[in-house]
């Protein structure tokens, strides 16, 4: 962050990194970019924390019985892995870092609609994270990240602080969502109609809708679990006639859409990366944009496919199975559109695009196995086995983390005004993909073989595939270190970046690298769309600022 990046233009204003110094200028900032950077630091920390948990878990699973930790520790650790990765990393990662940073410049805006709410979101996130961490220090919960009752109400572990922390994190999500929705509606610069919004903005907008409307239900079930755990006010407690399956309905009403909270921004990133590096407009802009909204809405209607063997009625299973298929259609549309965008483009093969390839394969495979597990008859065998573990890691890790890394590389010059090492970036990207594949592909087979998830000890005939998976996990961990190390080194030693190193036409690249506090020196008035590669960069710039002021 101390990088003394030269201003790319002859701009009189200092960039956002140098506009004010001292700790207070960061902690009390209302600049969406500084808030994004603070989120970046926190969230990447938690990514590594979750990753360390994952490596310990995988190491434990090297042998059928105890390897390094005992069953109690193992159970707490996989819970903490899930909680950290889902709520501290995956949900906020792309919206709160990259959404925060690039959404306003993408819309030609100076800031988000509610800058103070944005800062509040950061602090609420930090408080929630501290409470969750306190819960971990206090022993941690051993319920799995799903907190299924009645176990979560009965266990003697520290469920309450973990649940309370997630409850607080929910407010951070809601604040951010309100902010993004209001920003998209009210702060688009003159000339940016809905159908001229960059696709990442569509992804963020759709995600915000889910965050806003699903998170309260999560907060509700967590409160219900906590008061049952602490005071015995259990409305799901079978001892007073409660039905634990209803908990699962409500929990998945949030947690299934939560998958789309994670994956929609990832799709948004990909929808930006592909046109930029293919240098042509997306094959079907409208289809990609509208399918984001489609996913957001239909994603709400498919929660029940997590309950096929939970004792739900056959009718509901039929309804949810059918509705789940619709979500896949929207995702398939996007996949075809991205692939079509490469056709007859002028493709620059850079690190973010290599991440796109990782994303593409993992996402299609993960997505189609998702349709497979939504096929009720097959899900009976796969439910709660390693097949499911592999499936959602393909979507969430394969989808979200590759997109996260793609975004981290793609917007790195914009955020810090430096270029990273392309060679190391490509190497790390390939290593991430290979490590990932070897970690999770064997888990599909383990699931087929019948190994249930959350198993500390397992029958010996599962061992071979587990060893493969553990090896892959270590490779993946090292590759992640390499990728992020490359970026950290570039912060200090990278070559200075130009304002638009990828020659993108998207609006955020109209600002300097790094941008000034209010993003643009002049107010943009957009007379072109964000993927107009038929215009030269110079022309697209001319059509973005009122002519009288562009003379400089």
């Amino acid at each position: 962050m101390s990088a003394a990046a030269p201003a790319a233009q002859n701009s009189p204003a200092p960039d956002y990194l140098h506009d004010g110094s001292g700790i207070a200028s960061w902690l009390l900032t209302r600049d969406h970019k500084r808030i994004a950077i603070m989120f970046y630091v926190l969230i990447v920390t938690f990514l590594f924390l979750g990753g360390i948990f994952a490596l310990v878990l995988r190491t434990e699973l090297l042998t059928p019985e105890r390897t390094i930790i005992d069953a109690t520790t193992y159970n707490r650790m996989f819970t903490m892995h899930g909680v950290t990765m889902v709520w501290l990393f995956m949900i906020p990662a792309i919206p709160n870092i990259f959404g925060n940073f690039v959404l306003p410049p993408m819309l030609g805006a100076k800031d988000l609609a509610f800058p103070r709410l944005n800062l509040a979101s950061l602090y609420v996130y930090a408080i929630g994270a501290i409470v969750v961490l306190a819960g971990m220090v206090a022993g941690g919960a051993d319920t799995g990240w799903t907190f299924y009752v009645p176990y979560s109400a009965e266990t003697k572990t520290a469920v309450a602080p973990v649940v309370a922390g997630i409850f607080i994190l929910g407010f951070s999500s809601i604040f951010t969502a309100i902010n993004f929705i209001a920003t998209v509606h009210t702060l688009r610069a003159e000339g940016i109609s809905w159908m001229r919004m960059p696709l990442f903005a569509w992804g963020i907008y759709a995600t915000s809708i889910i965050m806003l409307l699903a998170t309260p239900v999560l907060a509700l079930v967590l409160v219900l679990v906590a008061i049952d755990h602490l005071f015995g006010f259990g409305v799901f407690n079978p001892a007073i006639g409660g039905d634990p399956v209803l908990f699962q309905h409500l929990f998945w009403f949030y947690s299934h859409p939560a998958v789309y909270i994670m994956v929609l921004p990832a799709m948004g990133v990909i929808s930006e990366v592909v046109p930029t590096f293919a240098h042509r407009r997306p094959a079907s802009y409208t289809a990609i944009a509208i399918s984001s909204l489609g996913i957001a809405f239909v994603g709400f209607l498919s929660w029940g496919h997590h309950l096929f063997v939970a004792g739900m009625s056959e009718l509901d299973a039929g309804i949810f199975g059918g509705l789940s298929m619709f979500v896949a259609i929207f995702s398939a549309i996007k996949v075809f559109a991205w692939t079509g965008t490469l056709y007859k483009g002028s493709i620059a093969f850079r690190t973010p695009l290599l991440y796109f390839f990782g994303f593409l394969f993992l996402f299609i495979f993960g997505g189609m196995t998702g349709v497979a597990v939504a096929t009720q008859g097959l899900d009976v065998h796969w439910h709660d086995t390693y097949f499911i573990v592999a499936h959602f890691h393909f979507i969430m890790v394969g989808g979200t983390i590759t997109a996260f890394l793609a975004a981290a590389h793609y917007w790195f010059p914009k955020m810090f005004g430096r270029m990273y090492s392309e060679r190391v970036g490509l190497l790390a990207s390939a290593a991430v993909f290979i490590g990932f594949f070897f970690t999770f592909f064997p888990q599909f087979l383990l699931g087929n073989l019948g190994m249930p998830r959350r198993y500390y000890a397992y029958p010996a005939h599962f061992q071979f595939l587990n060893v493969l998976s553990t090896g892959g996990a270590w490779l993946l961990g090292s590759a992640m270190l390499l990728a992020l190390g490359n970026l950290v080194v570039a912060l200090k030693y990278g070559k200075p970046a130009t304002a638009n190193p990828w020659h993108s036409r998207s609006y955020e690249w109209l600002s300097a690298s790094p941008p000034i506090t209010h993003n643009f020196e002049e107010t943009p008035v957009i007379r072109r769309d964000p993927y107009c590669y038929v215009l030269s960069e110079h022309e697209s710039r001319e059509r973005s600022f009122p002519p009288s002021e562009t003379a400089a």
């Binding site: 079978p238 209803l246 009403f253 809405f297 004792g311 009625s313 056959e314 009718l315 509901d316 309804i319």
Partner: protein, 109 residues
Amino acid sequence: METRHPSFWHYGIVYVALMGLAVLSFGLSFLPIGGWQDAIAILIGALKALLVAAYFMHLVEQRFANRLVPSVAVALAVILVVITTLDPITRKTFPRAPMPLEASAPVGP
């Protein structure tokens, strides 16, 4: 957007209508019509909520976006209620409602 604001009397009329509906709902709840009562009570409740939202909360004079957000939220809440309730209604496992834990001892010998 806010072109014509409702006058005091608009608010008054809506208030009287709300009170009237509440009294009506109260009265109807004594009719011996079984399950229909529930449907009537919910319908009247929905009507009252609509009145409050439209006039007291000024949704009638709002932009489309402001109407869309609560509509989507209500639609999702209704879907949540309906599909979740369908489950216990159509379950074939038994008993439909839980039984005491003590009674769940093996039925065998």
